[in-house]
């Protein structure tokens, strides 16, 4: 995630646009409330003067003082304070809604965008690092939005009021103050740059740490069986120390801002006094009297209070910008490209029994809806005919994985790929469902180039059981239903029966309603594969790809599963990838892959007769007999 940093101004703008979207009205209310509460606190500080000059002094002069006037003004002030406090309460609460709402929207947008990213992104980024964006980086926004923004607006207003009064009092002395402000800004800019850089680093390291923990806890069993706890700890310490170092630097620079600004304020006070004194006493500027200097000095005092308040918010702001940078980096990751225009729709036969007509109802008949040049649509029945035409592919340039692969699978056929690991079998499936893209026109599905088919529609038409089984937190039933969200309980159970998973599921403590957590931690590898097969079966797709789907299942169970799948997929296309030759034996065609090339093809008997690699692999199984 060490991308070119998003421009800082850009980050602020984007953050504000989140506030603007949907919360503009509320934000205006917040600003009004802040204004009112600022007015209340300013009049509070002015109250003293009024109190003494207009009430106490006259009262003291009276023989029989009447305090009712004083009582009135105090009650009035009480009302003002009450209104101020109410406004403060209101804007604090509204800010919570805005701040939490913005964070929620950012999280949702992040997640939504992440779903559109290409597989390559997930293969090349540490999971824990990505997770860190959702928790740690979004979290940096919390304090800034709910506390810093109102505080800064409030203080800025105080500064503005004071500054205007200064201008009104004396121009020349205001010049001195402006000079000091410039110095303050320069210092702030310098420290913000320093501290900002380390806060960015801190968030990156936090992501690294997150990544490390995630990787290690996932591999905790390996750590245990190798007694590798100490080394794991050492590795952790390294990342942890790096995080601590950048956090320390970031906070160090942020923390020294406040004393610097306060003391520049003090020095400014002295400079104003000296300059004023010199001007007045030297008679250089006739406009300056001792009285104006005194007033001006008071103003310059009330000037530094809000400045130190703002500087209190400094680190949360800089940190939030660092977090936002990582958030927007993730949001700016390019989505999976999809220029497909062909969609998959439900159809039924017209009255003539020939023409396909699109329908909204759920029929068991599907068709590709192909847009034509004249704006009309042509419907092609979904059959499951897949063809590869001289396909070459490389994940990285120069490292070609697949060479000149040509093949065709007709509906109803079962095609198998065998070959040593690393021969490119999984890559082929990655191309069919367009996890990775190749040049247009090389792979056709029902006669349509797959690059023309919208990815979601293409993938919906393929049922895939992958090598690594991933289950989600939820009940067994929910996990199977993942394949088809509309499936009834009966359909879910029928799919489980088909996958030979029904037996063991029923023996689980709560049967189909047993909760699975941690990727099905308490199920065996084989049981998880059976659930994954059921999940694909319930989707009932025209094309099925089984990528080492039964590798951890014993051969007896596998045979049962296979019979079930064969029944389900009769008349449809199946791709099988396996190591175990018993898995592929009854396929219509078997391709033997070696280093990305198809070196042999034919059915089981053909290949045995060829006495080639397949024959060797096959007889190898009985070598020890």
């Amino acid at each position: 995630m060490n991308k070119a940093p998003v421009n800082r101004k850009h980050v602020v703008g984007r953050l504000l646009s989140y506030v603007g979207r949907g919360y503009l009205a509320l934000f205006v209310v917040v600003i009004l409330c802040i204004l009112v509460s600022a007015v209340a606190s300013v009049s509070g500080s002015l109250f003293l003067g009024t109190l003494i000059d207009n009430y106490i002094v006259p009262l003291a002069a009276m023989a029989n003082p009447d305090f009712s006037g004083l009582l009135r003004v105090i009650l009035m002030m009480a009302c003002l304070y009450l209104v101020g406090a109410l406004c403060a309460f209101a804007y604090n609460r509204i800010m919570v809604t805005i701040s939490q709402g913005v964070q929620k929207r950012i999280r949702d947008d992040l997640f939504g965008h992440m779903q559109t990213l290409p597989i390559k992104y997930f293969d090349t980024h540490a999971h824990g690092d990505v997770m860190s964006v959702y928790s740690n980086d979004v979290d940096t926004l919390r304090q800034m939005l709910s506390q810093s923004i109102p505080q800064v607006i409030n203080s800025a207003m105080m500064i503005l009021v004071t500054f205007v009064s200064m201008l009104a009092t004396n121009l020349l002395l205001t010049g001195v103050v402006i000079l000091c402000i410039i110095v303050m800004l320069l210092v702030t800019k310098f420290l913000a740059g320093r501290s900002g850089r380390y806060f960015v680093q801190q968030q990156v390291k936090l992501g690294d740490l997150n990544g490390y923990i995630e990787e290690m806890i996932n591999g905790q069993k390996v750590v245990k069986v190798f007694c590798h706890e100490e080394e794991a700890q050492e590795g952790f310490d390294k990342v942890n120390d790096a995080l601590c170092e950048s956090a320390d630097k970031a906070n160090k620079y942020a923390n020294i801002l406040m004393p610097i600004l306060i003391n520049i304020g003090n020095v400014q006070y002295v400079i104003v006094a000296m300059a004023g004194g010199a001007l007045a006493l030297g008679g250089i500027d006739a406009g300056i009297t001792l009285g104006t200097i005194a007033t001006f000095l008071q103003l310059s005092k009330s000037f530094s209070n809000p400045i130190s308040q703002i500087s209190q918010q400094f680190n949360s702001v800089v940190m939030a910008l660092a977090g936002a940078q990582r958030i927007f980096n993730l949001m700016d990751e390019p989505s999976e490209e999809d220029h497909g225009t062909v969609t998959l729709v439900n159809v039924s036969y017209d009255k003539d029994g020939q023409t396909l007509v699109e329908t909204r109802e759920h029929t068991n008949l599907w068709a590709w809806k192909v847009p034509q040049a004249d704006g009309s649509f042509q419907y092609v029945k979904l059959a499951g005919d897949v063809r590869f035409d001289h396909v070459d592919f490389a994940y990285e340039e120069g490292k070609t994985i697949l060479h000149d692969i040509s093949l065709f699978a007709k509906p109803g056929q079962k095609l198998a790929f065998v070959g040593a690991t690393g021969a490119g079998k999984t890559t082929i499936t990655n191309l069919i469902n367009r996890f990775y893209d190749i040049a247009d026109g090389k792979i056709h599905y029902d006669g349509i180039s797959i690059n023309d088919i919208k990815k979601p529609d293409l993938r919906r038409s393929l049922g895939i059981v992958l090598q690594d089984t991933n289950l989600f937190t939820g009940t067994v039933r929910e996990n199977i239903r993942y394949g088809n969200l509309d499936a009834t309980d009966e359909e879910v159970e029928a799919a489980a029966v088909l996958a030979n998973a029904d037996d063991f599921i029923r023996r689980l403590p709560q049967g189909y309603d047993t909760m699975l957590t941690g990727n099905g931690a308490n199920l065996s590898q084989g049981q998880r594969q059976l659930i994954a097969i059921a999940r694909a079966a319930v989707a009932d797709p025209p094309v099925m790809i089984l990528d080492e789907a039964t590798s951890s299942i014993d051969t007896r169970t596998e045979a049962i599963v296979q019979r079930g799948m064969d029944a389900l997929m009769s008349g449809r296309t199946v791709f099988v990838i396996a190591h175990r030759l018993s898995t592929v034996r009854n396929s219509d065609a078997i391709m033997v892959l070696d280093h990305g090339r198809i070196v042999e093809r034919g059915d089981h008997e053909d290949l045995i007769q060829q006495h080639g690699i397949y024959y060797q692999l096959y007889t190898g199984a009985f070598e020890l007999e």
Partner: protein
Amino acid sequence: MKKKRSIAGCIKEFWPATILTPVFVIGEVVFDVLIPTMTGKLLDEGVEAGSMHHIALYGLTVVAMALVALLLGALSGRFTAKASTGLSRNLRREMYANVQKFSFSNIDKYSTGGIITRLTTDVTNVQMAFMMIIRIAVRCPIMLICAWVMTFTINPQLALVFLVVIPVLALGLLFIMTRAHPIFERVFKKYDWMNNVVQENLLGIRVVKSFVREEHEKEKFGKVSKEIYLDFSKAEKILAFNSPLMQLCVAACILTVSWLGAHLIVDGSMTTGQLTSMFSYIMMILMNLMMLSMVVVMIVIARASAERITELLNEESDLQNGPNPIEKVKDGSVVFENVSFSYAKDPSKECLKDVNLTIKSGETVGILGGTGTSKTTLVQLIPRLYDATEGRVLVGGVDVRDYDMEALREQVAMVLQKNVLFSGTIKDNLRWGNKEATDEEMVRVCRLAQADPFIQEFPDKYDTYIEQGGSNVSGGQKQRLCIARALLKKPKILILDDSTSAVDTKTDALIRKAFREEIPETTKFIIAQRISSIEDADKILVMDGGRIAAMGTHAELLQTCDIYREIYESQTKGGSDDE
């Protein structure tokens, strides 16, 4: 009983910084009080009196003081950063060290997401609060007390007004804290949940995309995202009472002081000047109360986090070394005595039932059985990844619970079904087996595991970099590397849990041949699906429904065990004749 570990106990080497910070803060406060008196004099004796000499004198004093104050402030800022980031470093470190001791049921209890949230988000909260406590929470009360004492010197009666406000404030804060705290406790649990949802999505992204379930996933995430939104809003809205409450208290003070002060002045027992100073101290109190209210907010949030951290720090692993752990494993013999096991520790959900088994040192044991017949569960009891619920497991004649866990696991090498390689070179990964392994040793075990040939084909050979999770080597290569890694340990017991499933049969046979010839004295447990992988074993166990259904050699089992024969036939059928 172990001493309960606390957050403060993790400050350790950062105690000096932790103590120095408030010391410098106090220095800062002194100057914060002194500088205004100096500027006051500058105003009175310099400007008002029109004396350039005094202006220069006090001016230079203020500048000098400002420089010292700056230095003190910078130092306190510096040490705050050091102490707080250091504390969080130690917290993370200690937590991680404790997690390393966890058994798998401990990890399941917290979930990966829960552990990650505690090590990052929760620690960050505590760090922020700690930073505020040692700096602002020291500074503000001192300023408050100074200001109050000053008001007392002006007029003790008026100063008493503040005492009335204190209980009101305290009650208010107590109300806020007790109301908000349980919600924050909930919020962070939802963070764990969110972390888990994101992690599962990342791990299963291929499934998500293949089934076009992006919308479904978004809904799932949207749910937890909304929960966080609702809870956090609720909690922070309670916190929003905080600053208006403080403002109101101060306003009440100002007005009461005005009223009473007016009377006192009229009575002649106080001057207007004294009232003016009284007010400026009230403002000072207000400022510091505002800052304190921010600290209170942070502390309320951090309290929930701190509790979560202490919980993790004090979590005791289910698996502990006995009182006098045995350090030496005599030999590789394994005995199971009436062993039953249940992951849930619930006798009705047993997945191993009454297993009895005696394996002599050096024997090769094949384990075969249907999916879900507890093959993996059985062997996981040997290196004590889990403890038997009933009965005993003995290695080298000693109950595994009596060994030092590390000593036991040093002698029991296990190649897991779910292989994991870590990011690093091949050598780095192999060294997991033995840190001091020489290059020759590594090549030797790789030859045994039949990994050497493909490693030699890589351009960087043994220095080839393995990506996280081993995504750049194939499944079969990964398995062979994992076997080599286990062999480097020179264990007395070697367990292969379906670890050659992705290796072709010929290579598989070569690996077993190497085992037989090169490490004959090592006890070998081989779980396999292929009969060919285990048929030459000394003993073959056939597992069924958590029990040992049959035990014997290949020839014996073919005669006596129906399940075995069936499996055998399902794998050999079609060799010469077609089904």
